[in-house]
């Protein structure tokens, strides 16, 4: 859910222009003396207090919800914790007959999260690899190069891309992307880059890590690009003018004047995209192949943390199995919270003090 928030200062700047009142907000929030006086002689103190506390309660319930989620996940995964401990995330089992690694075999009581962590990290990494250059390119085009008439529609289109439900991405991927990968992209990759060992032709289905990475890239593009656009817009116009006045070309202006100032925010945007990619469920479940294995080839089937939960949870009958799945969810929860919090802090750090001159 890429709810992209325009930074505070920028908002106030705009409201000052359009609303015709002095900027207000964290920095200028002192209530005027007249207003204080009017508030203090209101004769509805009880109702006002009540209303205030009701609103505070609503705000506090957001904390409550996050705490409740964390608590339930911890409690429900206790069985797995006590049984496996942290080794859940790094151990592997060997098959006594074939001497091959087994990671996840609920029937025989083998539980290890390695293949899912691997799948989540690999597919997210592939997604970032594809999405970041495109997203930054798009943001540069939209903020610095695009004709004004084209900017609105293009921004709207990317916003739409962000609003498409993941199950529809999954549907499209199953019927369009997977055949495309199977028929054209994968054979080409195997032919050209097969020698690297990263693309082997032992999986003719078209599903797999790479396909999941492609669909994830399409899904996280709009988040990264709209946040990049936001921090780039927050770079003061005077920076650009100063660099241009020194005789820079447009690219040099973008590189020295804009990207250098906005880089922390861009990293924040990328991390926000990463947060979404890590937790994405439906589209990945539909194309990753859902086998709890680790392969070197990017074209082979795999699974991810979210995918294994979506696939197995309703069918899990064994308590340990259920608990192990919830432990995976807990790990996912903690990781995405950390990634998101870091991302927000980075974006906030950039846009906070910016005397933005939004165009």
């Amino acid at each position: 859910m890429p709810e992209i928030h325009i930074s505070q200062p920028q908002l106030e700047q705009k409201s000052a222009i359009h609303g015709g009142h002095p900027p207000a907000g964290p920095d200028a929030s002192e209530i005027s003396a007249v207003r204080k006086f009017l508030l203090s002689r209101g004769n509805s103190a009880v109702v006002d207090r009540g209303f205030y506390w009701l609103m505070v309660l609503c705000a506090l319930s957001i904390f409550g919800i996050v705490a409740l989620i964390a608590w339930r996940l911890v409690v429900s995964s206790e069985l797995a914790w006590s049984k496996f401990g942290l080794s859940f995330f790094y151990r592997a089992f060997t098959d006594p007959d074939t001497h091959q690694f087994i990671f996840w075999d609920p029937v025989n009581g083998h539980f290890s999260a390695i293949p899912f962590v691997f799948g989540t990290l690999l597919s997210s990494f592939l997604a970032l690899l594809m999405a970041v250059p495109l997203a930054v390119g798009l943001a540069i085009f939209l903020t610095e190069m695009c004709p004004r008439a084209l900017r609105g529609p293009l921004a709207f289109l990317t916003e739409l891309l962000a609003a498409i439900p993941s199950v529809i991405f999954g549907l499209w991927a199953v019927f369009v992307l997977v055949p495309l990968m199977r028929g054209h992209v994968n054979p080409l990759l195997i032919k050209v880059l097969g020698w690297t060992g990263l693309f082997s032709d032992d999986n003719p289905t078209g599903l797999g890590f790479l396909t999941a990475g492609v669909i994830l890239a399409i899904m996280i593009l709009p988040i990264i690009s709209s946040l990049t656009r936001e921090v780039m817009t927050a770079v003061p116009q005077s920076q650009r003018e100063a660099v241009l006045a020194l005789g820079a070309t447009r690219w040099e202006m973008i590189r020295m004047g804009v990207l250098r100032n906005a880089r922390i925010g861009i990293v924040g945007g990328i991390m926000l995209g990463l947060g979404r990619a890590l937790g994405e469920t439906m589209a990945v479940t539909m194309v990753i192949g859902n086998t709890p294995e680790i392969h070197r080839s990017l074209l082979s089937n795999g699974s991810s943390m979210a995918a294994v939960i979506a696939n197995e949870f309703t069918e899990a009958v064994d308590d340990v199995h259920v608990s192990a799945l919830i432990e995976i969810a807990l790990a996912l929860f903690v990781v995405t919270i950390i990634v998101n919090a870091l991302a927000r802090l980075l974006v906030w750090a950039v846009t906070r003090g910016a005397p933005s001159q939004a165009r």
Partner: protein, 289 residues
């Protein structure tokens, strides 16, 4: 510096500039292409599979052709009604606190931050949490639990949009209300919130449209249902859930229904997003979000 070197360098710089411009345009095309591909294919497939039966019939057993998703549409409606009745009041309340009472305070910053973080919690994790919070004590899957999961997912979006829209309302309007002797709570509810109401309503629509497409939190809560059900206490069908089940099924006719369902969903979402854009492009709320 020799003139030759100078000329060479400036040519190189111009070339780099041109190359980067070309790459940025290429990136834009590469981003727009999948979008157009998805939309085009969706409309093409969806429109050819959509018919009246889709809206009036319940699913047929596998293998039989025909049937529709009437029960899923009803189910989605019920789930969204439950979700809105949870998410909208809490979200708006939180937004009012952030914009009217908590401006600049530490608590407000913490709430804002937590709301953003809550927004980033994967929907599947939300589904599991609600499963263990509501489904386990109830001992069965139910429409109610699905609605709760979706409702919680609405809160951050509603809260942040409400806050942003309220911040757009000029101070003079609040002071004018207070000056007429209106109590603060009335001034907030019937002056500030009312002024910002188009924006708040569209914010709710946006949150609504987003959770309308959520599948992952419903798998372990609403579960899905092949039959008519409007009971809050029973498993219930939902449009995105049905699309998921049909998409991974091996039957062609079910694929057809999945595309039709996807088209219905996407039309709803495009409408909501366009409405938000329309509202935030005019009047007092211009420039918000």
């Amino acid at each position: 510096m020799k003139l030759e070197t100078y000329k060479f360098r400036s040519r190189m710089r111009a070339l780099t500039d041109g190359a980067v411009t070309a790459m940025a345009i290429l990136a834009t095309v590469l981003v727009v292409a999948p979008l157009v591909a998805i939309f085009g294919y969706l409309v093409f497939k969806g429109a050819s599979s959509l018919n009246l039966a889709f809206f009036t019939h319940v699913p047929k057993p596998p293998g039989e052709t025909g049937g529709g998703m009437a029960n899923a549409i009803l189910g989605s409606g019920i789930l969204l009604a439950v979700a809105s009745s949870i998410g909208v009041p809490i979200g708006i309340g939180g937004g009012i606190y952030l914009a009217e009472f908590g401006r600049g305070t530490k608590l407000a910053n913490a709430v804002r931050f937590t709301a953003d973080v809550l927004n980033g919690v994967p929907s599947i994790v939300m589904g599991l949490a609600i499963y263990s919070l509501v489904v386990v004590p109830q001992k069965h899957f139910s429409a109610f639990s699905g609605g709760v999961a979706l409702g919680i997912m609405m809160i951050p979006t509603v809260c942040r949009t409400t806050e942003e829209m309220l911040l757009m309302v000029p101070h003079a309007v609040r002071e004018a209300a207070l000056g007429l002797g209106v109590p603060n709570w009335r001034s907030v509810l019937s002056i500030t919130v009312k002024t910002a109401s188009p924006g708040i309503i569209t914010g709710c629509m946006l949150a609504f449209a987003r959770v309308a497409g959520e599948t992952a939190p419903l798998i372990f809560t609403a579960l899905g249902n092949q039959y008519w059900s409007s009971s809050l206490n029973q498993p219930i069908a939902a449009l995105p859930l049905q699309i998921y089940v049909y998409a991974i099924s091996p039957y062609d006719d079910w694929h057809r229904l999945a595309w039709a369902g996807a088209l219905v969903l996407i039309v709803l979402i495009v409408l909501a997003v366009s409405l938000v854009r329309y509202v935030t492009s005019r009047g007092v709320l211009k420039g918000a979000s």
